[in-house]
């Protein structure tokens, strides 16, 4: 259609005669459409005029020829009178528009045409399966999105410490009382009666359950007012009774201290008052001052604050044991000083000396000591330490020095005792627990810290000494046992097993009680020596010298001393061998080069002495594996207890259970080896071999195991918290699936049906459209 028109137009432009015909032909709807403005009559006239003009021009010969030429293609004219001329040229849309360029009303047509031009051909629709697949994908992605809103909730519930089911809280359904009453009818005569009564009093059923009478009474005074008034009265009454009670109580108090405090307070207040008075009214203040002066004189005259009083004397005696008493004495002395000072203001310096002397005479030494140690935190502690030290010195002189083993023990005890007294209770618990958790570590670390400063050789010597003496002791002990008691033949067998660690619960060796006199003595020494810090080298040096002199003791003791001496001899012979161990190869190598190299290596690794480290490690291992004595002493039983008081040596002796000596270590004769004797096959069956899954390091796992959860070790609240079950369900309650409303979400679909109830076909059509619009959703 379009093309035809174009051809026609072309013809008109070429030929005027044809144009006429064409005009007629193209009168057509187009004309109507395009030139609606021209009225019919005008166009007719114009056409006629045009015809005339053309007829005139046709008179020209040229034109005729032309006409003949042009008529040629007209042979091929179709039945519609359309020439096919110019078919070979490609028609461009813009050509079409050229003649109409001038008319603005054709702009819309142009636009339409350009739009038509830009449009491509429509592709074939997708096949059904493909469409369905796209549907599914879109639907799936949508659904996944909807579901992913549950992610945080699911995660939270999975990680929750505790989940209580059912999740939604049931609201107890309260039926309003009207509902209950309206649905209830009186059946029995009794009920009838009750109803009658209620109705007679016009008992209201609805919310403010008040009869008219009650309402009236309420109206008399508003509730709030009444409440306020009542509260006021109550307060007044309470205050009154409180003051009364206070006065009564104060009157009853006999405590002198209390009165003293009260008096002091009063005095302070008086001073304050006086000061204010001074400012306000000087004359009155003067009077007041005089009064005070008089009171002071009276006080001074009374000799109350001398040390001669009965109270003061008793306090002076008590001061030795009681901190408070001491303080009281000091206070009194201060007061005395203050009182006496003013009169002798002229010769102050002289008097002071005298005072000090006086003090020295009057106050027991203990107080002085306190003064001396005033910088200490707890002076009482200090006192006990010093006195202990004194005692220890006294005891030490006649007797021999204790073995290093004993010393070692005393050290470990000593480290505990101050801790016991200083820290607050809670802190102490924690500390001690941690201490106990890694006993080896702690004990290893401490001696190391002490010994670091000392000479290495002396260390070795010492360790050897310890080991040997321990062994000797054991032998001695065993022989004694065998002599004394034949029934104890089983003992060595028992001893073969090493003492147990905490972690190995099944095999617990029974420690023996300390029985022999000798051991008791040793213990006593231990106790005494607890706090004395003697340098160790001195100890060792003195040992041999001291041993022989002034020993009238039992033959047993002497025997042991001989052993000690032997021991020392052994030591001296052995220690070089140990040293040779440290550098065994140097002797063998003769070559100088090698020696040089050796030297170089030595220089290079001057810092780290591997062998010494190893020896140290081994020593520590040996010490750690040694059985420990058990002290079952309970302070405060059968004697005075309290801070700073220690149970008597006798008691400690009685209740100390001495650990049996274990069998000799397997690596005793192997200087280059440490054989771990802790492993116990009986316990191994109960131990975890492989690190369980969520843990990444065995420390983590051990820590979880080592924290107790029972109520024996935890407070009630902690116990409850530790044992909360993960999931709690109530019996007899239906647990419904989780709902969006429960967790604070709006339900995703108001109605699942809404979509389905439409025609599914329609739905799919709609979807197709949607899909076409944006194929990748």
């Amino acid at each position: 259609m379009c093309k035809n028109e174009a051809e026609k137009m072309n013809a008109t432009s070429a030929e005027s005669l044809l144009a006429l015909r064409q005009q007629e032909l193209v009168d057509l709807p187009k004309d109507y459409l395009l030139s609606t403005s021209d009225d019919e009559g005008d166009s007719d006239g114009e056409r006629k005029h045009q015809k005339l003009l053309e007829a005139i021009s046709s008179l020209d010969g040229k034109n005729r020829r032309k006409l003949a030429e042009r008529s040629e293609p007209s042979l091929k004219v179709s039945e519609f009178n359309i020439s096919s001329e110019g078919t070979r040229e490609k028609l461009v849309l813009s050509d079409l528009l050229q003649p109409t360029k001038t008319s603005s009303s054709l702009a819309t047509v142009k636009k339409q045409l350009s739009r038509v031009k830009s449009k491509k051909t429509v592709e074939l629709p997708l096949n059904k399966e493909e469409v369905a697949r796209i549907h599914r994908e879109v639907a799936f992605s949508k659904t996944s999105q909807v579901l992913s809103k549950w992610d945080p909730i699911v995660l939270k519930n999975r990680k929750a410490e505790q989940l209580v089911f059912p999740l939604e809280k049931e609201q107890a359904a309260f039926a309003p009382i009207e509902h209950v009453l309206s649905g209830w009818k009186a059946r029995t005569p009794l009920e009838q009666e009750i109803f009658d009564v209620l109705h007679k009093n016009k008992q209201p059923v609805t919310d403010p359950l008040l009869t008219p009478v009650e309402k009236a009474s309420l109206k008399a005074m508003s509730l709030e007012e009444a409440k306020m008034r009542r509260a006021e009265l109550q307060r007044a009454r309470a205050l009154q009774s409180y003051y009364e009670a206070k006065a009564r109580r104060e009157k009853k108090i006999k405590s002198k201290k209390y009165h003293k405090v009260v008096k002091k307070g009063k005095a302070k207040k008086a001073v304050k008052d006086f000061e204010t008075l001074q400012k306000v009214d000087p004359s009155a203040a003067l009077e007041e001052l005089e009064k005070i002066e008089k009171a002071r004189m009276m006080e001074r005259m009374s000799l109350k604050h001398q040390n001669s009083g009965k109270w003061a004397k008793s306090k002076a005696i008590m001061a030795k044991y009681d901190l408070e008493a001491r303080q009281a004495i000091q206070e009194q002395l201060a007061k005395n000083k203050e009182l006496t000072q003013k009169l002798q203001a002229a010769s102050e310096s002289e008097e002071e000396e005298g005072d000090v002397e006086e003090n020295g005479l009057l106050v027991p030494d203990v107080v002085h000591k306190v003064h001396m140690n005033a910088n200490e935190l707890n002076p009482w502690m200090q006192r006990s330490c010093t006195s202990d030290a004194k005692e220890a010195e006294i005891q030490k002189d006649p007797e021999q020095l204790p073995e290093p083993v004993a010393h070692q023990d005393s050290e470990s005890e000593g480290e505990e005792s101050p801790v016991e007294e200083e820290e607050t209770l809670l802190k102490e618990f924690e500390e001690r627990r941690s201490l106990r958790k890694r006993p080896e570590l702690n004990q290893d670390a401490e001696p190391a810290g002490h010994q670091e400063a000392q000479d290495a050789s002396s260390q070795e010597v010492l360790s050897e000494l310890r080991a040997l003496s321990w062994k000797l002791n054991q032998e001695n002990h065993q022989s004694r046992k065998q002599k004394g008691n034949s029934t104890r033949a089983v003992l060595p067998v028992q001893r073969e097993e090493p003492a147990q660690e905490e972690e190995e619960p099944l095999l617990l060796q029974r420690p023996e009680r300390v029985q022999t006199l000798e051991e008791l003595e040793e213990l006593g020494k231990e106790g005494c020596l607890q706090n004395t810090e003697l340098p160790r080298p001195v100890l060792q040096g003195q040992e041999t010298e001291r041993n022989p002199d002034d020993q009238p003791g039992a033959p047993k003791k002497r025997k042991r001393k001989e052993q000690m001496i032997d021991l020392q001899k052994l030591l001296t012979t052995k220690s070089p061998s140990v040293k040779s161990l440290a550098a065994p190869t140097t002797m063998e190598m003769e070559d100088e080069e090698e020696r040089d190299q050796k030297q170089m290596i030595k220089e290079a690794f001057a810092g780290d002495d591997v062998i010494r480290d190893f020896l140290k490690e081994k020593r520590e291992a040996v010490e750690a594996s040694k059985p420990k004595d058990v002290d079952l002493t309970l302070p405060g039983w059968g004697e005075w207890g309290g801070v700073g008081l220690q149970p008597s040596a006798k008691k400690r002796r009685r209740f100390l259970i001495k650990a049996p000596e274990g069998p000799p270590r397997k690596d005793k004769n192997l200087p280059n080896v440490i054989i771990n004797e802790k492993r116990n096959i009986h316990a191994a069956a109960h131990q975890v071999h492989v690190l369980p899954y969520p843990f990444t390091h065995h420390h983590q796992f051990e820590r979880t195991i080592q924290t107790p959860i029972g109520s024996t070790w935890n407070t009630q609240r902690a116990f409850q918290k530790l044992t909360t079950p993960k999931v709690v369900t109530k019996p007899g309650h239906i647990i419904k699936p989780i709902k969006a409303e429960d967790v604070g979400y709006r339900s995703s679909s108001r109605s699942d049906l809404s979509m389905v109830q439409r025609n599914p076909k329609q739905l799919s059509v709609r979807h197709k459209k949607q899909l076409k619009r944006n194929p990748v959703d």
């Binding site: 799936f140 949508k142 699911v154 619960p505 005075w640 069956a685 080592q706 070790w713 419904k736 979509m755």
Partner: protein
Amino acid sequence: MKVKMLSRNPDNYVRETKLDIQRVPRNYDPTLHPFEVPREYVRALNATKLERVFAKPFLASLDGHRDGVNCLAKHPKSLATVLSGACDGEVKIWNLTNRKCIRTIQAHEGFVRGICTRFCGTSFFTTGDDKTVKQWKMDGPGYGEEEEPLHTILGKTVYTGIDHHWKEAIFATCGQQVDIWDEQRTSPICSMTWGFDSISSVKFNPIETFLLGSCASDRNIVLYDMRQATPLKKVILDMRTNTICWNPMEAFIFTAANEDYNLYTFDMRALDTPVMVHMDHVSAVLDVDFSPTGKEFVSASFDKSIRIFPVARSRSREVYHTKRMQHVICVKWTSDSKYIMCGSDEMNIRLWKANASEKLGVLTSREKAARDYNQKLKEKFKHHPQIKRIARHRHLPKSIYSQIQEQRIMKEARRRKEVNRRRHSKPGSVPVVSEKEKHVVAVVK
């Protein structure tokens, strides 16, 4: 003369008022309570042993059906009511407290294929081999009335399963396609199909209630969206899935009971690998049901046992069996999460405790505390070999035991062969496929 006396501060032992609880002095000093680890270990050991001593899960057997029990349904409002359908078309309603049948209906000719209750608990639906879907009232007929269904829908094909919507008056059936029905209409609102095969079960998602899952006999699991009336995705496994169950606490998680002895827990947003493969059964798994807490599920198997799996574990924590229990066809976890019911071939419904050693009835607070403590102890020391051994020990019937051994050998042989093949081929040509990926054949979009 010295007088020694003890003095105590009354503040430490006298109550302030009469209403206060008695002060019980406790000293938590750790030195006074030594050996905490060994002591707790022993306690844990004892707790574990006692747990095994008291593990008596079997409560009751409900007998009365005259053919194998084919399907079970819970009452949504009453814990004591259970419905069961048998292979002879009989439906029975049971009272669990009395352990008695309260009503019997001859519902269908042939099998009762599926049974489900309406969300309000007033009526229930059954489908059977006679191509019908019937709706019944939950209460029995009055005196003189006849036992008749409220509605009957006659279909063209057999419906093999039915499930009711959780909130609205809609139910879904499956057979040759998944149909969604309005209760009031006799023709489905929409039917969804994807391929042609018989679908064995259909389940509504309890949380996002417009979602459905179904499994067909051509080894696939198909998910549907009811709102958009379209299937969503299909996953094809190695073998046929018998049924699926949605997790009632996690909207996108479901578990499929498969013929290849395993159960697969899927996240429906990522179907290409299951979240977890649960294996312990030695024969086809026929049914699965989640605990209402969503932490565990129970599975019924053709190997005459039921097992309880934690959702996050691949191995079962419990196995229940009796001498007389045959192939277990259906299983349900009660709505209070305390009991498990299973219906089996030999016409009985059995009631089990979900937690084998749990004490039933009201517990005092001290009992509760002790239970919690023991539970925590067992948990704490569960890695210790002795405790693990005792806690894991179960008696199994000889058939199951020997089959387990046999399958272990087979599995080992297969593994060895694969290792050998890998060793003798070009590196990288035989990839290592994890157990999870092994069983999924394809995911169809």
